[in-house]
């Protein structure tokens, strides 16, 4: 099969790779670029473990062809920290113990970050829960996850706090 040239940016680093056009975004990220924070879970667009941001939008990396993000900016969980400092969402997840086995965590963090970028002041907890409906936690640690996102939304993790 003829490989195709894919040019895209992952966590602000430009990449040019030759891939089989059937490769999924999650495969390009994990197998070609070597960033394994993004997880392969159900691979049927259900669990959200493969969630990454494309042009700031949360999408499921298992249901997007890598070629479809040609020329676009992708952010993975490895791109959340800035200058060695964790993203507020990551800090809040640590403080609230918002993971048990951790497999869903990177997807949860990406959905949470995309949601808070879009909706910095959610009107209630239900809005957060709805925003996270595409991410499953089989350890069922949902309450801690929602608490963590809520804490960030309430401004508890602003600079200087």
């Amino acid at each position: 099969m003829e490989k195709k040239l894919l040019r895209f940016t992952v966590n602000e680093v430009p990449y040019e790779i030759y891939i089989n056009p059937k490769a999924l975004l999650v495969e390009a990220i994990r197998d070609h670029i070597g960033l394994t924070g993004t997880k392969r879970g159900c691979e049927t667009v259900s669990c959200g473990a493969c969630t990454v941001m494309v042009e700031g939008m949360a999408v499921k990396g298992c249901s997007v062809l890598a070629m479809q993000v040609d020329g676009m900016k992708v952010t993975t969980v490895e791109g959340l920290e800035e200058n060695g400092k964790l993203d507020p969402v990551q800090k809040a997840f640590l403080d609230e113990g918002a993971f048990q086995c951790g497999f869903c965590t990177s997807g949860m963090l990406m959905s949470a970050r995309a949601f808070l970028n879009e909706t910095p002041k959610p009107k209630d907890e239900m809005e957060i829960r709805r925003a996270m409906e595409g991410n499953l936690c089989r350890c069922t640690g949902y309450n801690a996850i929602i608490r963590a996102i809520d804490a960030v939304a309430k401004g508890n993790y602003r600079e200087g706090k």
Partner: protein, 291 residues
């Protein structure tokens, strides 16, 4: 495991239709791919050519005028529909439906044209759009044609699309006075597909009698199904609780659901009865308040 294919990336609708005319016998069309990639990975769909129309921005639009109604281009995402001010104002049921469709991630990438063409009997948009009396415009290298969305569905995962044709646009007439449309699906997780779904449009006259009704059932047959006997019970009448009940019973009788791992046939019929009654009543209540 996805089988190998040759990837086609047309730069315009014209180019896409020419490519499809050339490869129509062994070409699948992908847009958001939120449904197609699953069945390709499961090996249920294999194709020599995959034509990607996700980037055809000329099909990404939401236009509204009182005269022509609503036009949604095929590559418009679910999320764009969900967030559209004009749709929220004129067709709030579409926003409500989108909120219930899968998850934010899916709505961010998945498109309305792809959803309609995939023709999953449990798809959310089709019953609502049919209740809104929508049409679909399809096109090939030979030209365009428009048909009622209701006639677009021919069987499970089968549509009236001919080889070489793709979905171009969905058209919804501007809302009639004293008219409202409601939608509800029954499922265990909000982001799941409906075990069954019901969309109802009710139009009233000045005296409050029902002049038009459309009841559309989702996942209750191999295609989105108009419950025409149930509709007939409502049209021309002053609507009452007893009539809603009867309409529900009629819909439960005329649908053709299958039993599967999610629900038995009997249970699906029961759900259709209850949801038809509730949605007809809700549409009636909303229509009364409309100008």
């Amino acid at each position: 495991m996805i089988h190998d294919f040759t990837y086609l990336q047309p730069g315009s609708v014209k180019e896409a239709l020419a490519m499809l005319a050339e490869h129509q016998d062994d070409c699948k069309v992908i847009c958001g791919g939120q449904s197609l990639l699953i069945v390709m990975r499961q090996g249920l769909v294999q194709t020599d050519y995959l034509m990607d129309i996700k980037r055809l921005n000329e099909l990404s639009y939401i236009k509204y005028s009182d005269k022509d109604g609503l036009k949604i281009g095929a590559t418009t995402t679910h999320r764009e529909i969900e967030k559209s001010d004009v749709i929220a104002k004129k067709y709030p049921v579409l926003v409500d439906m989108e909120h219930k469709l899968a998850s934010i991630q899916v709505r961010n990438w998945g498109t309305i044209g792809g959803n309609l063409a995939h023709a999953d009997a449990a798809g959310d948009p089709a019953p609502v759009l049919i209740a809104l009396n929508a049409s679909v415009k399809v096109g090939s290298a030979k030209g365009d044609r428009t048909m009622p969305l209701e006639e677009f569905y021919t069987d499970l995962f089968e549509t009236a699309l001919q080889p070489g044709e793709i979905v171009l646009e969905t058209l919804v007439p501007s809302p009639a006075p004293k008219t409202a449309t409601t939608y509800q699906k029954f499922n265990l997780l909000e982001s799941d597909q409906g075990i069954v779904a019901v969309a109802v449009t009710i139009t009233l006259d000045e005296a409050g009698a029902c002049t038009a009704a459309r009841i559309v059932l989702g996942n209750a047959a191999s295609v989105p199904l108009r419950a025409k006997k149930a509709e007939a019970l409502l049209i021309g009448k002053k609507l009452t609780e007893a009539l809603f009940e009867k309409a529900g019973e009629a819909a439960a009788e005329e649908c053709e659901p299958v039993g599967d791992i999610h629900a038995s046939e009997e249970y699906r019929r029961h759900l259709i009865k209850v949801l038809t009654k509730r949605m007809a009543k809700a549409a009636f209540e909303q229509a009364k308040k409309m100008g």
